[in-house]
Structure formats: C-alpha cells, structure tokens
C-alpha cells in the first residue's frame, strides 16, 4: 500500500481533480451572472425568448440525465411535466399556497416515477421506449377524463390570479419568471455537472455500455437507474409547475404534450447526449434556428429546421459537442460516409 500513499501525495493530482469540477462551475456561475442581467437589455419579446430558452435548457438537462447518461430513451417525461403543471394548478384553485402546490405536484410526480420506474427500468431498448410512451399517453387520457377538486380535465384552467405574483406589473412579472426559469436551468446544469464528474456519473456511463459487466464490478445498477429516473422526473415536474405558473393557464393536452419532449430530445441529441455542455448548445442552436428561419420563412420553419437537424445528425451522430472538440473534420464528407456505413440497418 506504500505506492498508494505515494501516488496520492504526488503534487497536483488532487488539484487536477478539483479543477475538473471548479472550472466548469466557475464558467457556469459567470454565465448565470451575465444572464441574470439580461432583463436590463432585453425587451418583452427578447425576455420571453430567453425565458423559453431557460425552460428548454432545464428540461433538456433533466432528460439528459436519464436519456444521455443512463442511455434510456424515456418518453415518460410528458407525464412528469404534465403532472407538475396540472397537480399544481388543482392545488392553486383549491386555495393552497404556491410553494405547497409545487411540492404536492413534485410528490405526485415522484410517486408516479417510482410506480412506473420499478417495472419499466428492467426493460431493454425499444421496450422501455414504448412502455414509457404508453405511460405518458395513459396519464394524459386519465387527466383528460378527470373531474374532481373543481378540475375538469378537458377545460383549460386559468391560474394566473392564483399565482402570488399576479399583482406585479407585466414587466416585473416577466422578469420574475425569467429569473425563476434561469434558476431552474442553472440548477439543472449544476445537477448534471455534479453527476458528470462523480462516481455515479461514471457508473451510469458504464451501465449504458454493459449493465451485467458493471454489476459484476459492484455497481448496484437497478437502484442507480431508479434514482436517476426519479431525479429526472422530479426536475421535469418542477419545470412543468414553473411553466404553468408563468403561462398562467393549464390545458391538459398541452401540459402532457409529447411534442415538447420530442423537441427536447432533438436538442439533447443535436448538442451531444451524455455531456454537460451539449444540451446547452443544442437548445441554443434549435431556438436560434427557429428564430432566424421563423422570421424569414415562417411557413416552412419546421421543414427547414428539421432538415438541418437531420443533416447534422447524419454528419455527427455524437452531436455538435463532438464537432466542437474535434474541429471541422467532424463534419467532413468522409465522416458522413463512415456514419452511413456504421448506422446502416442491414
């Protein structure tokens, strides 16, 4: 064990580890600080776009945990986003305070995640995808037919008067929700950062590659996957609650919308799944694309942005993050040919 002590004491080793967390954390805090000042320069429209971007970033990172790091393409996210919105709305219209509403919704989402995760996380690949999709759709239909606590599933609920900050002027209201979403986004980034550099992040990545081999080396794979699923669900629920408060109305089909989750998945894959900065790049890229194309060619936005996404994924399936670290050759024609060969279904 002498070597052990020697190696541990070698100068710089400990520092290197520290900087591997400290450096990204510092960047994160600087970006957060700068972004916190954005309302000073942005108009109402700009602030709305920025709030949306923060919401998507928080969602992307919450999905990145389960979909990127654990490699489990979960379509249960709408169930948690939707429950976060609907359960909080029901609490509000029944006179509960805003914080209690968020916590009740969170508890409910976590219970659903526990019930759903325990059986489905044993499933492999496509079976897991389909099972989680069914959970989301089943829950949406259940809520659509729910008629209780003054809530009628299909009818949209106006909660803006119940949200504590409704007395604020529109500018202060917008600023409040921008800072709330920014806080959620930064918190989500911090959670992923903590995971990325820890033993648990390493364990998740190895489970993704080979669960049996990871278990043989002492990783409690089933439990770790469940914990990550719960964490991801809890984050999604809080974001769902926050966005319901921000928009001020809750409509079941929108709250449980698969479309938002699909957009989020595209962002994560495009930027780089299972990485810290990839989802941020993906969110920025897609929203920017929509803004740019949306203004000039409003009627073909979806088609064009879809095409661009397909092209990028063809050239670089690991996402834009890989292109940034590898340089221009990551987007070369040669790489396209390699990828086509590697991913061809035969």
């Amino acid at each position: 064990m002498k070597v052990d002590v020697l190696t541990l004491r070698r100068a710089g080793d400990g520092d290197k580890r520290l900087s591997s967390v400290a450096q990204p954390l510092l960047i994160l805090l600087c970006v957060a600080g700068a972004m916190a000042l954005l309302p000073l320069v942005l108009g109402p429209y700009g602030l709305r776009v920025a709030t949306t971007a923060c919401m998507y970033l928080a969602l992307a990172q919450s999905w990145n945990l389960i979909g990127g790091y654990a490699g489990l393409v979960s379509l249960a996210h709408p169930a948690f986003i939707g429950t976060g919105a609907v359960a909080a709305a029901i609490c509000l219209i029944n006179g509960l305070p805003i914080a209690v509403a968020a916590l009740v919704a969170l508890a409910l989402s976590l219970s659903i995640a526990l019930l759903v995760g325990a059986p489905t996380l044993r499933l492999q690949g496509h079976y897991f995808v389909v099972a989680t999709l069914l959970v989301s759709e089943a829950l949406r239909n259940f809520v659509l037919n729910l008629d209780a606590f003054g809530f009628q599933g299909g009818v949209s609920v106006n909660i803006v008067s119940h949200v504590g900050v409704s007395a604020l002027g529109s500018e202060a209201y917008n600023r409040f929700f921008y800072h709330l979403m920014l806080g959620l986004a930064i918190a989500a980034m911090a959670v992923v950062l903590a995971f990325d550099r820890s033993r648990w992040g390493l364990a998740l990545r190895t489970i993704r590659d080979n669960e049996a081999a990871a278990a043989a080396l002492g990783v409690a794979a089933a439990r770790l996957k469940l914990v990550v699923f719960l964490l991801s669900a809890g984050m999604a629920s809080l974001i769902g609650t926050a966005s319901a408060f921000w928009i001020g109305t809750v409509e079941t089909n929108d709250a449980y919308s698969l479309l938002i989750t699909f957009e989020v998945i595209v962002m994560v894959f495009l930027g780089g799944k299972g990485t810290l900065w990839g989802p941020a790049i993906g969110v920025g890229f897609v929203l920017l694309l929509n803004e740019v194309i949306g203004v000039e060619f409003a009627e073909v936005t979806q088609v064009v942005s879809g095409l661009i996404v397909v092209l990028i994924v063809l050239f670089q399936p690991e996402g834009l993050m890989a292109a940034l670290t590898e340089g221009p050759k990551a987007l070369s024609l040669r790489r396209l040919r390699e990828n086509v060969r590697r991913y061809r279904v035969s």
């Binding site: 390493l202 190895t206 590659d209 043989a216 990783v219």
Partner: protein, 257 residues
C-alpha cells in the same frame, strides 16, 4: 476454511438442466481449472457463482456466508470478481475509468474517493501490463489487451476469488504464455483463481486442481495427472479427438466469420 462451496447447485432452463446438482469447493490460494465439453454448463456455473444468474436449487457459501440469493454487485463487494468470455469493455469511457469503476464500487467496507480510485486503477493497469495506457479509448486495444483490461478492472476491486471465463481464447502463443504468467503472478499475490479454458495443455500446466463438468454434472475432480489418466474424462472430453478437432475448427471459423 473453505473459501467457496456449493451444494447441489442446479440451474434449469425449462426442461434443460444446464447445471445439475453440482458440489464444488475452492480452498484459499488454489488455481482450479474448470473444463468440460462445449455445452457442459461451465459458463452457466460461473454465472451462478457470481450472481449473473440465480440458481433454481442448491446453495452457495462464500467465506462461510450464504450468498445464494445475493445480487451480482453484492457478491462483487464481498470479494468475488469475474471476467467475461467475450470481453465487455465500457466503450464510452477511457481505459483508466474502466478500471476505476472496480475500485470505486467493487471494494468491501469503506468508500474509495476519486483520487484514490485513480491511483488504484494505475496500479491495477501496471499489474496487467497496461501501464501508461489509461487515457486511451478501449477501442484501441487488441483482443489480448481487452482481456488484460478485464483483469485490471477485477483487480482494482481487490478480489479474494477471481473467475476467468476462457482467458486464453483468441490469443496467439506469445500472448497465451503472458496470460498464464499473469495468472500465476496473481495467484502468488494471494488471489484464488477458478478458470474455464479449452486449451488443455494450459489448464494442466497452471492448475493445482481440475474440475470436470459434462452435461451440467460433475464428471471428475482431481490433480491434473489424475484427470489426464481418468478414463471417463478421456471418453467424454479428450477421447473424441476427431470430434474435438472438428469442433475447434468450426469455432475458429465462427470467430473469423
């Protein structure tokens, strides 16, 4: 004290008993060769011992403790480690991180921090002859390198008993010799070893004791000399020379194809 003991260990898949009432024991410090014709149930047997599969019947005791129903990761923390027949490197992380996993999660008792895991991984890589390659991707390793990586991962978990599932398969003669040297060196450092292998000369040269499985049952057990002289074993396993040659040729073609 006996390190590992099974009694009546059985695994059925529907009507087929892949492992059928096997009594097996390993004493501390032994190297045990586990041999038997293809389909004898060797890998299933090791799967049962390491918790990759749970037995239909029978008991497993490790260091006096009943581990029959323990999950794979719990047995690993008690000091059982294994390699897989087809190496399973974690392709998404570096070679060093592959090994760090064993140090972080496979050790009994106290928690190992990231810095210490890094140091332990470096030591383990050195022991298997992969020193200085920690930063590389696993995809750059040869078959022999991947097998070494599997061993390093196990070593980082500081095992008492190490199972090798065909450690020599796919290796060239030089690599076979190096692998056998590694097995002997690990054993000399105090690790008890059980290994499945088809290269009979290698099994005989390195094992203290040989355990023969056929059709899921124990066929024979003894020193290498006793096993070589055993008529039943010769008939079941070594006797059918022509068949064995055909089988190994078919296996080579499968691997090549």
């Amino acid at each position: 004290m006996t390190l590992l003991a099974t009694s009546g260990l059985t695994k059925r898949f529907g009507g087929l008993a892949a492992v059928n009432g096997v009594d097996f024991s390993a004493e501390p410090g032994e190297i045990i060769g586990l041999i038997g014709p293809n389909g004898a149930g060797k890998t299933t047997f090791v799967d049962l011992l390491t918790g990759v599969q749970l037995p239909t019947a029978g008991r497993i005791k490790f260091r006096g403790r009943d581990v029959t129903q323990l999950a794979s990761h719990e047995r690993s923390r008690l000091g059982l480690a294994r390699t897989f027949q087809i190496p399973r490197p974690f392709a998404g992380v570096s070679i060093r991180e592959n090994v760090m996993l064993g140090a972080l999660f496979g050790r009994a008792g106290r928690d190992v921090g990231m810095a210490e895991a890094r140091a332990l991984a470096e030591q383990a890589l050195q022991r298997v002859g992969l020193a200085g390659q920690g930063d590389r991707a696993t995809g750059t390793l040869t078959v022999a390198g991947r097998k070494r990586l599997e061993v390093a991962r196990c070593l980082a978990a500081d095992p008492t008993l190490l199972f090798f599932d065909e450690p020599l398969g796919g290796l060239n003669p030089t690599e076979v010799k190096e692998a056998l040297d590694l097995i002997r060196a690990l054993n000399a450092s105090g690790v008890t070893i059980v290994f499945i292998e088809h290269i009979v000369s290698a099994v005989i040269s390195v094992s203290h004791r040989i355990f023969v499985l056929a059709d899921g049952r124990k066929l024979a057990e003894g020193t290498p000399q006793e096993i070589l002289a055993n008529q039943t074993v010769q008939r079941a396993y070594l006797g059918d020379v022509k068949g064995a040659v055909n089988r190994s040729r078919a296996a080579r073609q499968r691997r090549a194809g």
